[in-house]
Symmetry: D3
Subunit: 314 residues, 6 copies
């Protein structure tokens, strides 16, 4: 397959091209005298929007959200964004594509991250804590889920491997902090590694990220806390006080109740973890806003509604 | 033992009497040129304050918080409150008193409440939910803890049996609401019965109510949710969707995140439960403020700092 | 008239039908090269949207908001919602329809509600309070307004009879609460019955609900308080202290100042009333969100912006 | 009577003097081995604190809060504040003093304020509004109450005549604003004059300022609105639209709901009035903080808890 | 040039006219099967919207935002707003128009405002403060910028001369307040004159108002404070205490930290200035909302999202 | 001088000892029938409280706050805190003590911190930024102030060298973050080094930490920004864009406006700096709370009012 990737499409403006893309949103809209279809596509190099202007009702039944499609499109420049006018579209056959070509994922080297992650586990001195971490992260099935999971739906790290990337960064910041502050390093690192683990139950798997019912009704902090508690109970003589402090690290990591913390941080480790989590999430969030600013001459990003600001690029 | 109860002490103003009381707080304070001891006492009819003005340092070593003491006191009227000046004090011997005489407890009939509670369980139609409730509440040891537990440390229902009293009231309001609104009555009643169950892990046992480490670091919503989930897992084929909704009832009952809800109510049952819980807690809180206003001619209670208001008694 | 009702229109997809509907909104919008008209219709079975794509400017002058129209429409399915493409439209003649067929109203039996309401009044023991309630609710003109009035513009109980339905529910919850808590039942019931009475001055009458100038500039709490005070002044020797407490019930029922309470609840009755009001309003609000979810396979409602959540339907 | 006034007492440090003062607070407190009495006194030149160290229980029964007492005191300097150690104290006889010597009151000339006030009324052009103002302010009994009333309990203008002083200032600012902005001057001035009028029902009369039950349960905005509405209803043909706008001025003058506004300002006049009220209240509040700083070398006032700041005096 | 002004266009409904306008926004939008261009125009009499329906992509390249264009338009009435359908459009030649005809500006007499402003400066008694004000405002270049600058981007005073108009009004209110309150008039007036001076660095110059990078990243309070401090440092022996208080006036004028005050007002002058600023900004903001309500029969303005209200026009 | 240090005094309970201490607070209080003096002392090993019970008025005139005194005291244990009953006290002679023995200061090695600090400066690659940092930190007088200054009055790092310690930690965290995130390392490190520099103008020098007038009225962010801007202006051709970004780092480091940020962070560097600052301040704050818990068997610290929590020590 000779596929033109999203990142290269700007070179084909005002041309018709054939390509494959994954559909993440399909929405009928009303125009004048007729309907049209609004589409969001994605491949591993990024997202792109498109429209079916003609014969919308008929064509939209030929494929569904979450599927890879083969399509012929006119590439147009709309408000300084590249956009696709769909001429033909059909569901792609399984043998026509590799699903991995269509899933945005971390730009970091997964093997390297994996190595770093397990080296950090090896550095833990407390045997019980090390056992707990190995029990969870050496489980192949869990690791597969964990290392594939995004860390968020629509803000920072919202791509395959985002959870691993975020978790490792937070753990590294905590590792660094353990040099500076009189913390229990083993508990802090373990808390960092497990703080968002419940997200593997909170999001549906790819290609389209969405909340599970459990994610919406219970949430990742409680799910992660419960999971870890269950695993610790399977370790003979796991010290109750250690477990209690690890649980506190998980349920307090959002820092303030109005931001979803069940309890505010009440240990020095929980305080460090909260700020390490925030630093990584916010910094990577800003970074993604910057990456999304495709016009190289722009001095400011689009308005960031969530935080009520623009980001300066100059 | 011919003990004068706290509720009758106002009849002995400016007299010296002998009596027994339980010590809930003992605090050394500095006066002029010497120290004195500030004491909080309680018996089942209510709390009362006192002081050791003379020989404070020596006398305070003769007893501890949480113990019943025998004492000779002068009853004085201080700022329209009855207060005790301690002349003699010593630890009481076990055979000198019944501990139950010194513990404030619900004024409601515990047997009646117990009957009402189990009748409500019997009215549940869903077999799984009924099994779950029976598994928890027919466990004699758990029932003993549940029916003795206070519902709060210093606001509404802060006495033995307070948790049962509050839980039953909330369940009754929910039962009434189930006539008015299209709710799943079984889930709603079960949610009401279990919403604060985690408090049996959150408070230390009497005589002095305080938070456990688990209570402070994890909190009753997460502890109760985890406990119920564990119990449900022991029931063969317990429907996962039902469990998920029951869990949501527990973790959302505080209604708003800034008040400690892990999630806001997202089912109609969770909405009803939240307001039933609030109504009972707030109304009984106001009622306790009114009861604490001992001066029968007062038109207003003391200032209620928590809610920034006085309560009108007129 | 053989009218197809809104609730049955889904059976006529892709067909042209003739029917009658009441217009609640008419808005000119700009499409491409021409304008079109966006319409909201309603009949007693619910609301439905439509468009005039052709000849919009001419056709939109043939009728006004608030009128019943006769129309020929194509029924289409747009984003899983049934929608009407208007082919012909004209103002309906008075003899062609019954206005009552077009007004959404309470699904409850109004006679039954009326009976329940007056039985509650009869149960009041305080003569002055009973006189006051009778003076207000036995006034035929006021009753007509009260029993027709909606309880809100766009959230809970926004239909004919909504105010009566809501008021009765709140009064019943208060009646139930009066068994559980040491309240002055007469004052509490009267407060419940009158708490939203000012809404008859706050909303314009049907068919289109909107605020009156008085509603926007003064609001229903102050208007209701003033009205009740005036009525009480016409009763010889009405006890001033009772009046003061009834007034407090009305002006404090929103519970918190930032939600529009003039004062926070400062009596036990005002505390109960506030939570009874909240429980009914919020629960019925959630219920209406659930009813609006027309797709029987949906597990979640649309996003509830007001409360920042989805409601789970599973 | 040759009375030493509070403002001059600093000249008598470490001397015993005889004088007369009004008691505003009397509170029994516990010291070591005995009780003492804490007293707050006042005369028209300001407040001063004192203590009865000896024979406290006996002496405190000889007088009550709100009474003028004759007393012999030792004047002491305590923490850079002048304070009185009471040696003798008894209730003063009516013929021994003029009550007006003991009531703090506005430093402004009341006759001048009265003149200014009525001249502003005379400048009103709308006959109905002028009638309304005259009906209220030319009523001798109401004027007596209004011109004696404080404008607050413990913040700005908390002295006899404070309400008149504040009201006149707000009206003058509004008068000035009416030159700058396209407002209805008559409505704005009337709103200014009546905005706090309900305070005559909110505070008990001197010598000790406190809230009435009506003040606490209903509050001055609603009471003032109701009073004005009643008065307007007694004027033949009073224009309903004018009345509605005047009512809006009163009930919205606090500006934001969380600060007690029933509605936010929705007219240009209400916007002006809100800021004029705020400017006068806050500026005079700061001014009173500055006046309370008795040490002439101090560069900062005491901490202003209400606003979380110190005020700079340099 | 015989130009039809925006304010008169309503007289030409459904006619084609030729005119000149300044373009403030040009935005490509997608319609059905084709794109169209949305335009915002302005002349000195106000703003008006328009569209290019045909040949949009070609025509939109003929002119830019910020330019004056010559155009032929059809005047249409859309949702009770006058709107322009563009038939022809081209960049206007410099000799075809006067730029001043296209810039909205203060309706007040600039010479009169200038006179009033400098008379106020002349009334300052403190030589240092007067020197400082003259140094800043008599600098011709600075005055040109200051007197041309708007006071806001999209709320009150967002037109040429808006900053001068707002500053003068605030200074006049402060001048009036200096009669009523014991303030340092010289410092207060100077603070008023300089409080928003930093806005000359915060906004780009006309014709299109937008933030500078400095405005977004640093803001007008800090920029204004720094500028004044620099100017004062150039005056020999400028009293440090005076400078400190003037700086405090500038950095605290927003009143509350969440509204951007660096410090809350801690002097009586800063308190007055804050409320004077608020009164003028809010009142003129309401006034502009009223002016924008073009339908003379409307009783209410459009919804004011910023303040969550409608403004009553009746 | 053979001085017993505060940290060793617990060994002398119930003994009289002679020692030297620095007085940080002296306050006359009223006891029964007489006054006493409450004192706060400090030496470099920590703070301790004391009282003068006898002859208070005479003795308190013999010394002032901020002076070192010689004193004979009885060491007592009061509420599990060591406290001093002062028997004799007099101002110490300059030759009797070294002032450095009485000033609490950082426990870190100042030379090491200094080395680390300047090595970080050396690692800066941008010549202008390096020049700026050297200009500021190589100025001996400024360095003396900077390296002596506390970082806060009563929360984290409130001791000599606290500002250097905090600044260095924040810079190190930023240095670590510069490996993880695509930031401009030079600007980030410079921002970290200068973010709190204005505190050298905000606090009075030791021995007693308090705010300067400038600190209260203007604050360290604006003072620091202005100082850096001045210094940069003295460097030929300092790039304006770099300066603007450095200024933004300083004025936005508090992160949110309600916490005193003039602007929210709008660059990726400002985002990192804000969280690095928070992490260090909060973690060291928690650490100081833990250090203050002197009872080795305590499981919880005293209540931390500022953050509404206890800290777990278990």
């Amino acid at each position: 397959m000779d596929r033109i990737e999203v990142k290269d499409m700007f070179q084909y403006q005002n041309q018709e091209i054939d390509t494959f893309l994954l559909v993440t949103k399909k929405e009928l809209r009303e125009g004048k005298k007729d309907y049209y279809v609004r589409l969001d596509f994605v491949d591993k190099t990024g997202p792109i929007a498109g429209n079916i202007w003609n014969n919308a009702l008929a064509m939209m039944d030929c494929f569904s959200e979450g599927e890879v499609v083969k399509l012929r499109v006119m590439v147009v420049n709309y408000k300084e964004q590249i956009q696709l006018n769909v001429k033909k579209i059909r569901r792609a056959e399984p043998n026509e594509y590799e699903i991995s070509d269509f899933i945005p994922k971390t730009k970091k080297d997964v093997n390297q991250m994996s190595d770093d992650f397990f080296k950090l586990i090896d550095s833990i001195k407390d045997d019980f804590i090390k056992q707990l971490l190995n029990k969870i992260f050496e489980d192949k099935e869990l690791w597969a889920k964990f290392s594939q999971c995004p860390a968020a739906k629509s803000w920072h790290h919202n791509y395959v491997g985002g959870l691993l990337e975020h978790t490792l960064s937070v753990a590294k910041i905590c590792d660094f902090a353990s040099i500076m502050y009189p913390v229990n390093r083993d508990e802090l690192i373990a808390g960092a590694m497990l703080h968002d683990f419940g997200k593997i139950f909170e999001y549906n798997s790819f290609p389209v990220i969405d909340f599970t019912d459990y994610g919406r009704l219970i949430g990742h902090t409680v799910l992660g806390d419960q999971f870890m508690t269950q695993k610790a109970s399977e370790i003979n003589l796991f010290p109750p006080n250690t477990l209690m402090k690890l649980r506190h690290l998980i349920i307090s990591h959002h820092g303030e109740m109005e931001k979803g913390a069940v309890k505010v941080p009440q240990t020095i480790e929980a305080t460090v973890l909260h700020f390490a989590d925030n630093m990584d999430a916010q910094t990577m969030g800003v970074n993604q806003l910057r990456d999304a600013a495709t016009d190289p001459s722009a001095k400011w990003t689009e308005f960031d509604k969530l935080n009520n600001r623009y980001i300066y690029l100059g």
